[in-house]
């Protein structure tokens, strides 16, 4: 039992922190927001120069061969800067689906290209936040998927249809992608329409969906943790600078106590995220409980902290110019994506034995 980063993990965290602080600047994120929601140079640097993007993909398949703890470290740091990257879509959702459910041939063909960033993929869970649904029939896919993250930037889609999991390539005959104007412009959604598209399918659809959701929930929770921490750090700095009534506003208990409450929540979120990451890596019996807990708790914490960030900044926090809204909107998107906090808590209630007989 050692519930702290190893030296290697601490080094990865330091590298990730520096990388995102230097590269995922507000200016660059805003340029990406006005475009497709992907900072292409940042993606290139992250997947190419840094070479750690495939952190949870085995080395034999072009990845780094580490685990969920390391994936969470990257997601946390990316979240801390609301980085405009298809990290969740491509590496948090699509890659684990292919890794868990693909044939050896599919894995060997696709995963090295995802790890290197050459291909960007996304994942469509048609039954989560996405009626109308899509169905497979004889290797053709018909239907639609709504609200696919970074859908307009992806080259490849893993689609969890009603009766199987399909891989669909951009440009396939009968496949339509419609970008949606999204509240969070750092991770915009797209609608996918499948008009009898010829597809290939994954060998083990159940394993694929389970892996995608588990990893995706963890990656969102880690993103939320990083975002919440950034909201606190920036707000602490601001309340120390901002003078009213002849004092820094951070000296008033009305303000201090709210900042303290943010920290109390964030430290719990941190425990939740890394507990879940370890539990998945160690195949603990607690893994399902932990990842639902992490998704619910970290997303609620982010929502709370981003709201407090605006409130404690006052008017400046309501402007487009200030970054507070980037966090506030990403917090909202994290909370909704792949199950709300209430939905995840309901899963915890089931796991806690509330449905067993008295």
């Amino acid at each position: 039992m050692h519930f702290a980063f190893t030296d290697e993990q601490a080094m990865i965290a330091e590298t990730a922190k520096t990388f995102f602080a230097e590269n995922a600047t507000s200016e660059r994120t805003r340029a990406a927001m006005a475009d497709t929601g992907v900072d292409k140079a940042l993606w290139q640097a992250f997947t190419g120069d840094l070479g750690l993007a495939g952190v949870a993909i085995p080395e034999a398949l072009g990845g780094v061969g580490l685990g969920m703890v390391e994936l969470a470290i990257f997601a946390e740091e990316a979240g801390g800067h609301t980085a405009a990257l298809p990290l969740l879509a491509s590496l948090g959702l699509a890659a684990p689906a292919i890794l868990a459910g693909g044939t050896d041939e599919q894995k060997a063909r696709l995963l090295p290209r995802l790890a290197s960033g050459e291909l960007v993929a996304s994942f469509a869970a048609v039954n989560m936040g996405g009626t109308p649904g899509a169905a497979l029939s004889d290797e053709t896919l018909t239907g639609a998927a709504l609200l696919v993250p970074h859908g307009a930037s992806a080259d490849l889609f893993v689609v969890a249809a009603d009766n199987g999991v399909a891989i669909v390539e951009r440009g396939a005959l009968g496949f339509g992608i419609t970008p949606l104007t999204s509240m969070d412009q750092t991770r915009p959604y797209a609608r996918l329409d499948f008009g009898g598209v010829a597809v290939e399918t994954l060998a083990d659809p159940r394993a694929a969906v389970r892996a995608a959701l588990t990893t995706g929930w963890l990656a969102i929770a880690a993103d939320a943790l990083g975002g919440a921490q950034a909201c606190l750090d920036r707000t602490v700095a601001y309340t120390q600078e901002r003078i009213q009534f002849g004092r820094s506003i951070g000296s008033f208990q009305a303000v201090k106590h709210r900042l303290a409450d943010m920290m109390v929540a964030i430290e719990q979120a941190r425990s939740a995220v890394y507990w879940a990451a370890c539990a998945i890596d160690e195949r603990s019996d607690e893994a399902a409980f932990a990842v639902h807990a992490a998704k619910a708790f970290a997303c609620d914490t982010y929502t709370h902290c981003a709201g407090e960030m605006i409130q404690l900044h006052g008017g400046i926090g309501f402007t487009w110019e200030h970054d507070a809204h980037l966090y506030f909107k990403r917090a909202r998107s994290n909370a909704s994506l792949l199950g709300t906090p209430d939905w995840h808590r309901e899963q915890v209630a089931g796991l806690a034995g509330l449905d067993e007989a008295a």
């Binding site: 050692h2 208990q253 106590h257 109390v264 719990q268 603990s284 708790f297 808590r345 509330l354």
Partner: protein, 393 residues
């Protein structure tokens, strides 16, 4: 990062579990499952002695002082097995968790040899003399005085909220030893025997109807001149050092008690159908998550402490558990409904869950109120400006 335990550690677990089971299903079956701190005090003293004899009392302490030199993982495991076995809350928890670690950190070799083995053997029970009527949140505003007379310290004043003083042999007291000093300066940390004519313990009846806390009066009480931790005037440093110990491995044992309370709420909800109420399900899920996050937060703190690092998140632990337990008390009553508000018989003594609802109102006050905790977090962890002092007396 690693959450699992090694085979050696699992072997330690099996050894601890077997010993606890044999005792608590054998000679100590009568104290098994007790939750109150005050019930059956004589048997609880016997239990402290039994733990001491077998070397299971203070497992993390050095062997030289009656401990077991257990590693952090072993301490965690023992805390878990202790609670799992239904062993009762420790009558001497203040001695084990507060007095002992403070003496280990600040005591001379003579003081360590004099006091630590007696705590580990369960022979001397301790309580804490900090708060006073005029020194609650503003703890440094202590008025209890002490001065030297020959080879002794003489103590005069009043302490309040001294829990378990009625069972204690020793009390540690912060007293003002420099006349005219103010605030944290001029205080000393004294170790005082309770059983003497200069010390009077009077119970305080609390909102639950029980009397776990006391007022303790010092009227010319005496202790040997050697019974001071740190130098005269350094009492505040010693006392603040002690606050750090309040968040040790014992938090894990405390959490196992919380686990039992939450299980009782879940059992009640299943029994009366509230377990199907979606709003209650959400709140139970929140409680489940909160409890797990206390556990993993504690493991983070402990891992860092073992590596010699103070994790600033340790400062958030008190408000976290206190608020969790207060929320659980409210949830318990919402699950029980009006049925929880009455009790059979004429005695004002409620069963565990309604009692939790009442008792947990103390949790967010003692050991530093939630508001003081927020000041501490804001000032020490976040670096925000200190609260200015007023000048009213």
């Amino acid at each position: 990062m690693k959450l699992g335990f090694s085979p050696e550690e699992e072997a330690f677990r099996a050894e601890a579990a077997a010993w606890l089971k044999a005792e608590l299903e054998g000679p100590f079956a009568d104290v098994r499952g007790l939750t109150s701190l005050t019930e059956m005090p004589e048997r609880r003293r016997d239990w402290e002695r039994r733990l001491g004899e077998a070397g299971w009392s203070c497992v993390g302490w050095p062997k030289a002082y009656g401990g077991r030199d257990a590693t952090l993982a072993e301490q965690v495991i023992f805390a878990e097995e202790y609670a799992r076995a239904g062993a009762p809350p420790r009558l001497n928890h203040i001695g084990i968790e507060l007095a002992g670690p403070t003496i280990l950190a600040f005591g001379t070799d003579e003081q360590k040899a004099r006091f630590l083995p007696a705590i580990a053997r369960g022979e001397e029970i301790w309580c804490q003399g900090y708060s006073e009527p005029g020194a609650g949140s503003d703890l440094a505003n202590v008025r209890t005085r002490a001065w030297r007379e020959g080879d002794e310290w003489v103590i005069e004043g009043q302490k309040v909220w001294t829990s378990l003083a009625q069972f204690s042999d020793w009390i540690f007291v912060i007293a003002r030893t420099e006349e005219g000093s103010k605030g944290p300066k001029g205080l000393s940390f004294l170790l005082v025997p309770v059983d003497q004519s200069g010390v009077t313990v009077r119970p305080i009846h609390q909102i639950t109807g029980e009397a776990e806390f006391n007022e303790t009066f010092f009227d010319g009480a005496r202790t040997d001149a050697a019974n001071i931790l740190g130098a005269p005037g350094d009492g505040w440093t010693v006392a603040m050092g002690l606050l750090g110990f309040e968040r040790g491995v014992s938090t894990l044992a405390q959490q196992m008690g919380f686990r039992n309370e939450l299980d009782a709420v879940i059992a009640a909800a299943r029994a009366n159908g509230e377990a199907k109420n979606p709003l209650i399900r959400q709140r139970i899920a929140r409680a489940e998550i909160g409890l797990k996050l206390m556990r993993y937060g504690a493991l983070r703190m402990l891992t860092d402490a073992e590596g010699g690092r103070l994790n600033p998140s340790a400062l958030t632990y008190k408000i976290q558990w206190a608020t969790w337990r207060r929320d659980l008390g409210e949830l318990a009553m919402d699950v029980l409904g009006q049925a929880g508000e009455t009790v059979a018989g004429h005695e004002y003594a409620f069963p565990a869950l309604p009692n939790l609802f009442l008792y947990s109102r103390a949790d967010t006050i003692y050991g530093g109120t939630n508001e003081i905790q927020r000041n501490i977090i804001a000032e020490r962890a976040l670096g925000l400006p200190r609260e200015p002092r007023g000048d009213l007396k």
